[in-house]
């Protein structure tokens, strides 16, 4: 069988935690299926990081160290990964499902005419056979898939905890022809950060698509947040619809919060949202769909219409305060 090739990501001068999670998962598959784990690091001035990964479970680590790779570039990464797949004899390529991963991994699969499965939270190996576990319908259903031949997979960041590992620390420079690269990195920037810093709130009451319209946010969600001395938040669909500005968004592309109390009203619980609030000390979810994925991370749940519960709760809290 071919080896497993982990495509590493670096951020702020360090190997990303998501890459460490990949190493743990890859080593589990490697043990179960008798394969070798190898890694690839792409960047500029990344020799030290590559050595670190190579000694911490990454196995033999190929290094593409080039000024052209200083910032992420889809063409640089596609060329580098394809060269590395050939050099490493990999028939399983693993990448984290980050903005880099979802940008480049499918291109690799297409170039290799290979199987592709994204956002896996679990991969089970049974000798030569691999089963891939992921969610569909925005988190509502589980799916189990199988693949034949060479496979490129992306793994959900945070799906497992990274475990300590070690390997012999061998790194190897990889020459890649980057002359055909057409995409051009211009700059990184930050979206406008005006508004409430939700990360500082002790209590957050968030509304989702179930709230129905912007007026209901001020009529129903804000009063509950107010009575609890907290802040109001929102899920992505609310911001996409233009009901609230981006600074209210809780989730992977918004703010990651961990307040003492998080109340999710009419929020289904897509993974992007869960990533943003599952670290909360106590989570209360109110949703009329008993199968909403939000109930999987909540401590307490109410299966009911939020318009029946939330105003009544706000009133009762007002009375209790006296």
């Amino acid at each position: 069988m071919g080896s497993i090739l982990i495509v590493a990501e670096t951020q702020a001068g360090a190997i990303r935690e998501a890459t460490n999670e990949l190493v743990t998962m890859a080593r589990g598959i490697a043990e179960a299926s008798g394969r070798e784990v190898k890694s690839l690091v792409i960047g500029s001035g990344v020799g030290d990081l590559a050595s670190e990964l190579a000694s911490k479970g990454g196995g033999e680590t190929l290094v593409v160290d080039d000024a052209k790779a200083a910032d992420y570039n889809v063409d640089v990464w596609t060329a580098s990964i394809l060269t590395a797949v050939e050099a490493s004899g990999a028939d399983l390529v693993m990448i984290s499902n980050t903005p880099t991963g979802w940008d480049v991994a499918p291109r690799i699969a297409a170039a290799l005419d290979a199987a592709f499965v994204s956002d896996c939270f679990k991969i089970s190996a049974d000798g030569d056979n691999l089963s891939f576990h992921r969610r569909i319908f925005n988190g509502k259903l589980d799916a189990e898939l199988s693949a034949s031949g060479t496979a490129v997979v992306t793994v959900q960041p945070g799906a497992l905890d990274a475990a300590e590992a070690s390997s012999d620390g061998a790194t190897k420079p990889l020459e890649v022809d980057l002359s055909g690269c057409k995409a051009k990195f211009i700059e990184n920037k930050q979206a406008d950060a005006t508004g409430v810093d939700l990360t500082k709130a002790d209590v957050i009451v968030s509304g989702g698509r179930g709230v129905g319209n912007p007026e209901k946010f001020s009529e129903v969600i804000q009063p509950l947040a107010d009575i609890l001395g907290g802040a109001m938040g929102a899920s992505r669909p609310v911001v996409d619809a233009g009901w609230l500005p981006h600074n209210y968004q809780v989730g992977s592309s918004g703010q990651i919060v961990a307040p003492k109390l998080y109340v999710a009203c009419g929020i289904s619980g897509a993974i992007q949202h869960l990533v943003g609030m599952k670290g909360s000390n106590f989570i209360l979810a109110i949703n009329k769909d008993p199968d909403a994925p939000i109930f999987e991370v909540a401590d307490l749940g109410v299966v009911a219409d939020l318009f029946d519960i939330v105003p009544a709760l706000t009133k009762a809290l007002g009375e209790a305060k006296g």
Partner: protein
């Protein structure tokens, strides 16, 4: 400029998800369908490019008869032409199979720009658009929240984590996959809907596209073993009772947390 937009028709986001007896997909007979939400933002992005200058917008979709409705909606919103890949032989295609079908159409259409949604609301694979760009040998950018047409290129902003954005420039022809919220999607006007009836919808088969035996279940390298409702296991304690009883328990819990 010619802009090709890839659309997928998916189960309506509030559709009941009942699992088929063979466990491989959901029951489709009594649910409503709609254009994948991510693709509506891609279509809107294409229509804005058309509004701003000279552009022809061609929408392409793969699927059975019901997909015609999605294409008519897109034409009603302002797209000029539609291509419908309709063939049972395409059933069971994996992402790469779908990308190959779209690439075959793209090779005939030769667009300056291809737009698609970042992922679909049903499979959430986010696979087809970058695959299509690789097959076409053109650069791509995924998860775009802002795009600008420059002379011979596209300047786009990709959404990263935590509010960060990456600005990249791609020479055309190129492919961009659009993230939700990139724009505000328009409704089809009554005039638009009437005009849509006269706009051409070309139907293509797998053979027409020269992909016999390469797509569909026969060509698929990924297969679904089963889909199922997640096991309840370690999830929330669900409160029972009347509204008053529930509210009373919630007030008690909030007091317990020291937050009253």
């Amino acid at each position: 400029m010619k802009v090709m937009v890839c659309l997928k028709q998916v189960p309506h986001q509030d559709a009941r998800l009942d699992i088929r007896d063979d466990g491989m997909w959901i029951k489709e007979d009594s649910i409503k369908f709609e254009i994948n939400s991510y693709d509506t933002y891609a279509l809107e992005e294409a229509l804005r490019i058309k509004d701003a200058g000279e552009a022809e917008v061609v929408v392409v979709s793969i699927g059975p008869d019901r997909v015609t409705q999605a294409l008519r909606t897109a034409l009603g919103m302002g797209a000029d032409r539609a291509v419908h890949i309709k063939d049972d032989a395409a059933d069971g295609s994996d992402s790469l199979g779908l990308a190959k079908l779209l690439a075959a159409v793209a090779k005939e259409e030769n667009p300056d720009l291809i737009l698609a949604g970042l992922m679909s609301d049903d499979t959430n694979l986010s696979a087809v658009p970058p695959m299509l760009s690789q097959l076409m040998g053109i650069p791509s950018a995924s998860g775009v929240v802002k795009s600008e047409v420059l002379n011979g290129s596209m300047r786009v902003e990709r959404e990263l984590e935590g509010g960060a954005l990456e600005v990249v420039e791609l020479p055309r022809p190129c492919l961009i996959s659009i993230q939700t919220g990139a724009n505000q999607v328009r409704y089809a006007s009554l005039k638009g809907i009437m005009q849509a009836k006269k706009k051409p919808v070309d139907v293509k088969t797998v053979e027409d596209l020269g992909l016999g035996g390469q797509v569909g279940a026969a060509g698929a390298k990924v297969t679904v073993s089963k889909i199922y409702h997640p096991p309840k296991g370690d999830s929330a304690e669900i409160l029972e009772g009347s509204t008053d009883e529930i509210v009373s328990k919630l007030v008690g819990k909030i007091k317990e947390l020291g937050l009253l």
